[in-house]
Structure formats: structure tokens, C-alpha cells
């Protein structure tokens, strides 16, 4: 799957399900701070990613993920594995 498609789909579920404004999404922005994520929200990220891409992430996958770019890259690696 192409990077642009992945970014588009990720942004779509973040806007729809995590209720973040599109204008707040930026590749270098901090994912956790922008989405105001707590530990429970990572479970919902796993659910949203599975629903959008059919791949299952685990908690350890999020270690080191700081920016939106990190997040896109993580999903791209999983999807295109």
C-alpha cells in the first residue's frame, strides 16, 4: 500500500474516531500530546488500525513512537510486511 494512501486512511480514523482537528495533524507533531492519549487510548488505536488495515499491533509496537510520522511509518511497515 502506498504511503499516501496509508496517511490518508490513518488521518481519516484519527479525525473520525479520535476527534482530532485535521488542522492539528502534522508529521512532526507529537502524537500523544495532539490526541491527548492515555494508556486506554492505545487499545483503541489498535482497534482502529485493525479495522482500517487488517493488521494487529501490540503494545510494544508503540514504544518509541513520538510523532505522526513515526506512527505512519510504523503502520506502513506492518501493512507492507
Amino acid at each position: 500500500m502506498e504511503t499516501s494512501v496509508i496517511i490518508e486512511k490513518v488521518n481519516a480514523f484519527l479525525i473520525e474516531e479520535f476527534e482530532v482537528e485535521a488542522s492539528e495533524i502534522a508529521v512532526e507533531a507529537n502524537l500523544q500530546e495532539t490526541l491527548d492519549l492515555d494508556s486506554l487510548d492505545y487499545v483503541d488505536l489498535v482497534v482502529a488500525i485493525e479495522a482500517s488495515f487488517g493488521v494487529k499491533l501490540i503494545g510494544d509496537d508503540f514504544v518509541g513512537i513520538e510523532t505522526f510520522q513515526d506512527f505512519y511509518t510504523l503502520i506502513e511497515k506492518k501493512v507492507n510486511k
Binding site: D36, V46, V47, K56
Partner: protein, 405 residues
């Protein structure tokens, strides 16, 4: 012992989603019962149900908060918000005082079923999402309300079948009376969906008068053929009399008696002795005589045996005092886990507006009911004291007495 008063109430029911709407429905004898065709497809004997609008809480609750809300929590939240508003209790008050929360609830069927269905399909528990566990637990209402409103007092759910809401109010009253809590938000919530009532329908105790839904729930009438399930949310805010006076709050009523009992008999078939003891205990605790009670809001659900036994019990307790009696379930259907709380709200509305709501659909009372002073049409009359009955499976009984100050 402290005096306990009610200074706020809220309601989200099939006869209205505000106190004003419900007051109008009660006064006009309006039924909230409809036919839900989906129940037939699901396998129900009866498609009759009370129905409420689906709340939209997106603007007032965060995503994180809403993730943990099943429908019963949504209904209870709206009712609680109304009660706080009427009591003039704002977030600053909630932040600086210790507020207890006790609600009646006895199922989260839809949340449980949706989670289990997803796990069966996905074979992965994580994929039910983070909110599922909080929606699926029976204490979901109190865990949500305490979190959203940041409540810091006693915090748990009371499960007592169709008497849950009444016992929650009764226990809240006891906590304030004994000085263990200063403020309590109490009530009940009841989900409305096909999962919630399927096994109940299977017992054959629901009315099948689908041809005319608004006439299906007919407590005490000789043509009654069963109850109509319903639901929603109801809440009351209680505090000590001294506190209410000091705050300048409007007092809606004073709780003066809470009687409880268990039948110690059949799991579903009610008797007269247990309810009678609960009512007697409530009246004794209130330190009044039965003739001082103007109105009894009956539990009467429109089942043949239940209504007859309650009529016997009321006759036994009140005898010649013969207070006015009506069952608001004739309009609302049986709001089950929340019924004990919603019927306190309905009765408080009557207490504060000088009328007694009718027991609609009452054409010919049966032998036991004929001895009661049943209210067939709305009566414009000031009432000073009422007693509200709630009974449930397992033979749990609750009776609460409230008076106007």
C-alpha cells in the same frame, strides 16, 4: 438522626425527557408504549416496549468518557445532570464537597453481547476496544457518573432486580440520615434493547396486546395480560434539611421512611406478605399512621398475579385509610431497574404540582383491586405524603415514604 430532603430531580423516560415534559404526560395520561418490529425478528413473543430518543452526548462528554458509556449510563447521566441543575449544584460544589453516588442497575446486556460477538468473530479480546469492560460491568452507571462528575463520596451500584432504583434511594437516604454522607445523587438506569429483555420475554410475562400499544399496560385491570418492558434514567439529589435550608435550595420533598423486606419464597412469583412488611416498616419508620398517606404509587406492573398480590398487601396495610392508588406503569411500562427511582420522580412531580396521575387503561378492576381507591382519571388534588412501592425478582421489596414540607 438527620432529616433528609430532596432538592433536585431528573428524568429521561418514554413519557418525556425533561421534568416539564413528564409532568405534562403524567397529567394528561399519555402512554409512551410502542411496537418495535425488530423484536419479533429477534424472536420475541411481544414487540411492545417503551422507547426513548438516543442521546447525543458528543458535545458535552469527551471521547474518552463516551467510550465507557452504554445506553443506561447515557440515560442516567442526563437525569443526573438535570437533578444537579435543579438542586443548583455546579461543578465547583461537586469539587469541594463529598458527594455520594448510588444507582440501581441490573444489566448491561447490549454491551456484553456486542463485546462477546466481536471476540467470537475476531478471536482477539483486544479488538473489543478500551471502553467495553467499563460498559459491560453492572456498576457501569456509578463508575461513569463518579468519573465524569468527579464525585468523591460513597460509590457503588445496587442490583435488586426491579427494586434496584428504589433501594438505591433508600440506602442513600439512610447514609445521610445517619450522618455518613452529606450529599447523595441516587437513581436508576435501564437499558432498552432486544438483548436486555429477551429472556424476560421468554417467561411469557409480557403483554401481547400489540394491536393497541398504548392500551397494553393496564395495571389492576381485569383484562391485563402482562407487563410492557421499558427503560431510561432517573435521579434525585438528596441532602440534609439543614444543608438545603442553608443553601437556599428548593425542597421538593422529605424522605421519611424506607422499608424493605424479602419474600423468602419463589424466585419470580410475588406474594402479599413480603410487600406488606416493607410498607408497614416504611410507615412505622416515617412515624405516621397509614391514614396520613394520601397517595400510593403502586409497583403494579400489569401482571395478573403481581397486581393482585400488591392490591391485597395495600388493603392489608392501609385498610380503611384507603389512600389514592395508581400505577404510573400504565403509561411508562415497566422501567425495571430504574422504575423505583423514576416512580419517586413521578410522584414528586405530583407532590409539587397538586395532582395525582391516573392509572390509565383501567376499565374493570379485578376483585382485589376493586377494594382500592384507584385513580382512573387525573385528580387535581394537593397531596402531602406518598408511598412508592417497588418489588423485584427474588422477592426483594422496597417502600419509600416522602412528604411535602
Amino acid at each position: 438522626m438527620r432529616r433528609v430532603v430532596i432538592t433536585g430531580m431528573g428524568i429521561y423516560s418514554c413519557i418525556g425527557t425533561t421534568i416539564e415534559e413528564v409532568k405534562k404526560s403524567l397529567y394528561e395520561g399519555t402512554s409512551g408504549i410502542v411496537v418495535d418490529p425488530e423484536r419479533k425478528e429477534f424472536g420475541y413473543r411481544s414487540a411492545l416496549t417503551g422507547t426513548v430518543p438516543t442521546p447525543n452526548l458528543k458535545k458535552e462528554l469527551t471521547r474518552r468518557q463516551r467510550m465507557s458509556f452504554g445506553s443506561e449510563s447515557e440515560y442516567a447521566y442526563i437525569a443526573t445532570k438535570q437533578a444537579f441543575e435543579q438542586a443548583k449544584v455546579d461543578q465547583t460544589f461537586l469539587d469541594t464537597q463529598e458527594i455520594g453516588v448510588l444507582f440501581g442497575n441490573d444489566s448491561t446486556a447490549q454491551s456484553v453481547m456486542e463485546a462477546i460477538d466481536k471476540i467470537r468473530i475476531k478471536k482477539d479480546t483486544t479488538l473489543v476496544g478500551s471502553g467495553s469492560v467499563f460498559k459491560s460491568m453492572n456498576s457501569t452507571i456509578t463508575m461513569n457518573l463518579s468519573t465524569v462528575f468527579k464525585l468523591k463520596g460513597v460509590n457503588f451500584t445496587i442490583s435488586a432486580a426491579c427494586a434496584s432504583g428504589s433501594h438505591a434511594i433508600g440506602m442513600g437516604y439512610m447514609l445521610i440520615k445517619q450522618g455518613l454522607q452529606d450529599y447523595m445523587i441516587c437513581g436508576g438506569g435501564q437499558e432498552i434493547n432486544s438483548y436486555a429483555f429477551g429472556s424476560f420475554d421468554g417467561l411469557g410475562v409480557f403483554s401481547t396486546h400489540e394491536e393497541n400499544p398504548t392500551q397494553a399496560s393496564r395495571p389492576f385491570d381485569s383484562k391485563r395480560d402482562g407487563l410492557v418492558p421499558s427503560g431510561g434514567g432517573a435521579a434525585i439529589f438528596m441532602e440534609s434539611y439543614e444543608s438545603a435550608v442553608a443553601r437556599g435550595a428548593t425542597i421538593l420533598g422529605e424522605v421519611i421512611g424506607y422499608g424493605f423486606s424479602s419474600n423468602g419464597a419463589h424466585i419470580s412469583t410475588p406474594n402479599a406478605e413480603g410487600p406488606s412488611r416493607a410498607m408497614q416498616r416504611a410507615v412505622q419508620q416515617a412515624n405516621i399512621t397509614p391514614c396520613q398517606i394520601d397517595y400510593v404509587n403502586a409497583h403494579a406492573t400489569s401482571t395478573p398475579v403481581g397486581d393482585a398480590n400488591e392490591a391485597k398487601a395495600i388493603n392489608e396495610v392501609f385498610g380503611d385509610a384507603n389512600p389514592y392508588v395508581s400505577s404510573t406503569k400504565s403509561m411508562t411500562g415497566h422501567e425495571c431497574w430504574m422504575a423505583g427511582a423514576s416512580e419517586i420522580v413521578y410522584s414528586l412531580i405530583m407532590l409539587n404540582n397538586g395532582f395525582i396521575a391516573p392509572n390509565i387503561n383501567l376499565e374493570t378492576p379485578d376483585e382485589d383491586a376493586a377494594k382500592l381507591n384507584l385513580v382512573k382519571e387525573t385528580i387535581d388534588k394537593k397531596i402531602d405524603v406518598f408511598l412508592s412501592n417497588s418489588f423485584g425478582f427474588g422477592g426483594t421489596n422496597s417502600a419509600i415514604v416522602i412528604k411535602k414540607i
